[in-house]
Symmetry: C2
Subunit: 411 residues, 2 copies
């Protein structure tokens, strides 16, 4: 079956009480997502609030930095050639002058690191190399021209690009911009997400996990929740939730499966377009995507582990792209040796949770078992690609690590 035919099939049929006749590949679903994330919208923000935001325009140095010849250290500005011949047993004396615009011959001026050098001066002597002495200093060592001096434009020349477009602004970048007098800057606007939490299925005894989890994931990926609708339990409520949105993305969690109450996909098919329903992904096989008007809609399964996995592969990718960030998983990758085999089925992408004890990664049960408890005990995941039946124990695998940077205080 070719791609178009498979896409048609996975769209056309109502899967309720029948099961998925076929599923789109993860590759097709990702291609759909990427096609929906064209241009990056922008807004202007104050520089002190811009940490982590994505720069829209390249930023070039507005002038030479430093803008003049400056002292690079605290000390005495001096003419280097006048210190020739000085030594521990032959200190030379220089008159100490204050606030000099121009340095008179055989004199020295106190300067702080970063201050403009008086004209005529071509070196700065550190305090350690001189001894003050009632209106003058004694210099114990000759100093080379340029020593202790930062030349005009030495850091960067006017017009040189310092921050590239697409840069995720770091604390130090804010310092640079503030230093140069920049008060506001254009950054990628946060993608606005409508979050629809489907009503609980009958017979469920637990509280909703997906709302709090998805709120935090959207924030992590640079988006913001524009509106959150909970308890969309029937066709009418679901249709209403999918309509009248000013969001950039609509995310529905729950009611995507094959049960009689799984109204998310039929409601989307009614009010907009259901493009894909059912993806060859484990967990997350009942994920779907489509559009409500112009707004891309991602359907995430209600099972929290499946919801997490399909968020990571599809919805998170869309939000990251719309916000100008890399579409890749926001996790560090590292190679580990598999401590136990992973079994997968051909044709499906398996997202297998693993616990890490370097250099070993151990699978936590099967890909689709264990729920959030398994996810909580996991340090990251391994992706098993569609053509693979899994990996043997001892294989080298790439692990996407949930929290690579800040480790707990009791480990």
């Amino acid at each position: 079956m070719d791609r178009a035919e498979r896409a048609r099939r996975s769209r056309a049929e109502d899967v309720r009480l029948r099961g998925f006749p076929d599923r789109a590949s993860v590759e097709e679903a990702v291609a759909w997502i990427d096609a929906k994330s064209g241009s990056v919208a922008w807004e202007e923000v104050a520089v002190p609030k811009a940490a982590g935001r994505v720069l829209i325009d390249p930023f070039a140095a507005p002038f030479d930095m430093p803008a003049c010849d400056c002292a690079g250290i605290d000390g005495y500005a001096i003419r280097a050639r006048e210190t020739v011949g000085s030594g521990d047993y032959n200190p030379l004396s220089f008159k100490l002058v204050n606030d000099a615009q121009a340095l008179p011959p055989f004199s020295a001026a106190l300067v702080a690191s970063g201050a403009r050098l008086p004209s005529g001066a071509d070196a700065v002597l550190p305090f350690e190399a001189a001894q003050p002495h009632e209106g003058s200093i004694e210099v114990f060592a000759a100093v080379a021209e340029g020593s202790g001096v930062e030349r005009m434009g030495q850091q960067v020349r006017a017009g040189t690009t310092i921050l590239e477009a697409g840069r995720r602004l770091r604390p130090q970048d804010l310092g640079l911009l503030a230093m140069l007098g920049v008060e506001h800057i254009r950054v990628a606007r946060r993608p606005r997400v409508r979050l629809v939490i489907a009503g609980p299925n009958p017979g469920m005894h637990l509280n909703d996990a997906n709302g709090p989890m998805l709120h935090a994931l959207v924030k992590r990926d640079g988006g913001e929740i524009e509106s959150a609708i909970t308890g969309a339990a029937d066709r009418m409520a679901m249709r209403k939730a999918l309509n009248e949105s000013h969001a950039d993305v609509i995310m529905v969690a729950g009611r995507t499966g094959t049960g009689p109450d799984d109204e998310a996909a039929p409601a989307l098919a009614e009010i907009g377009k259901l493009c894909i329903h059912g993806v060859a992904l484990r967990p997350g096989g009942s994920a779907g995507m489509g559009t409500a008007g112009e707004v891309p809609v991602v359907l995430l399964p209600g099972d929290p582990l499946a919801c997490f996995c399909s968020y990571e592969l599809f919805a998170g990718r869309l939000i990251r792209r719309l916000g100008g960030l890399s579409p890749a998983f926001p996790y560090a990758q590292r190679e580990f040796t598999l401590g136990r085999k992973i079994v997968s089925s051909i044709g499906t992408v398996d997202l297998c949770q693993v616990s890490l004890d370097a250099p070993t990664a151990k699978p936590i049960g099967m890909a689709d078992s264990g729920g959030l408890a398994a996810l909580a005990r996991s340090d990251g995941f391994v992706l098993v690609p569609p053509p693979s039946e899994g990996f043997a124990a001892g294989s080298r695998v790439t692990v996407f690590i949930y929290d690579d940077r800040l480790r707990p205080f009791q480990s």
Copy 2:
């Protein structure tokens, strides 16, 4: 000179107009920081707001998960042994019952994934394996006991620790806690930081870079700015800024050097204790630390690059520790090959900015040159330890990478 003697020296002397007679080692300064970060304070926060916060108590499963035998998939709950003998050419018929507490013999009940299994049922048949037929279903294949079922306690047993103390809470952890009905949780309190920006040195023409940069760095490291004082320019203002604080940490940026106006260290020596002034670090050699009452005070040089480096090594470490996070740099580390030599002086830790073009890292000028413009063009840094004169071109070095995870959209 032994450690105590060196510490005494670096404390005792006023360095202004004289230079640092000696400097504490980075190791000594880090030991001082670590000694000041004993216990982690806590507060209670709502679970949906707890992403990224550090868990104080281990969290154990309050009950078996699942709490009963559940459907693991959407489908028909059934007795497995009753399906024996069914096949494509010999479908067996089962009466369809609704909302059954107990499953009558030779019947099937519609269940959604996650729902409680009716008593008597021991398998769930996927919709694909059956055909509904006016109040009954025809089953085309025998199913094994336990198929499609999640057993009580299969995910985790009551009392098993799921989240360790010290865990930095992930989006999925919030989902788990919310699902289990946990509304509030004890997390490490954010360390409260008083930020004192010293007045500009005379002759400086640029705006303050350190305030915006340090605000963002403190936030990144899990702290919060309790109060920010700007323009502390003379001894009186500096003394006042160091006093009457309810902060966990006081950070002073600027006026730490050897110039006549460098009042931060003398003011701290007057109102509290100046324990270290001058560290064998480049850039950042005029950093200092001490206490105002019980509050640890970190003095950071005013030069923005030196301020950044000494923040990373000392103040950031203190804030991370007080907030229950790992003291390590919050950066991914990776090995690169040095594209040009790094020259360092023995006895000093050099923090050398590098640009990365895998597998090569290229130093950006000297460690202490180039200011924030160099920092902006840098992808990370290499630490040169005190006994080393640097690294030759072609050496393998560890780079701490500023932004390892989210790459820009135009690269």
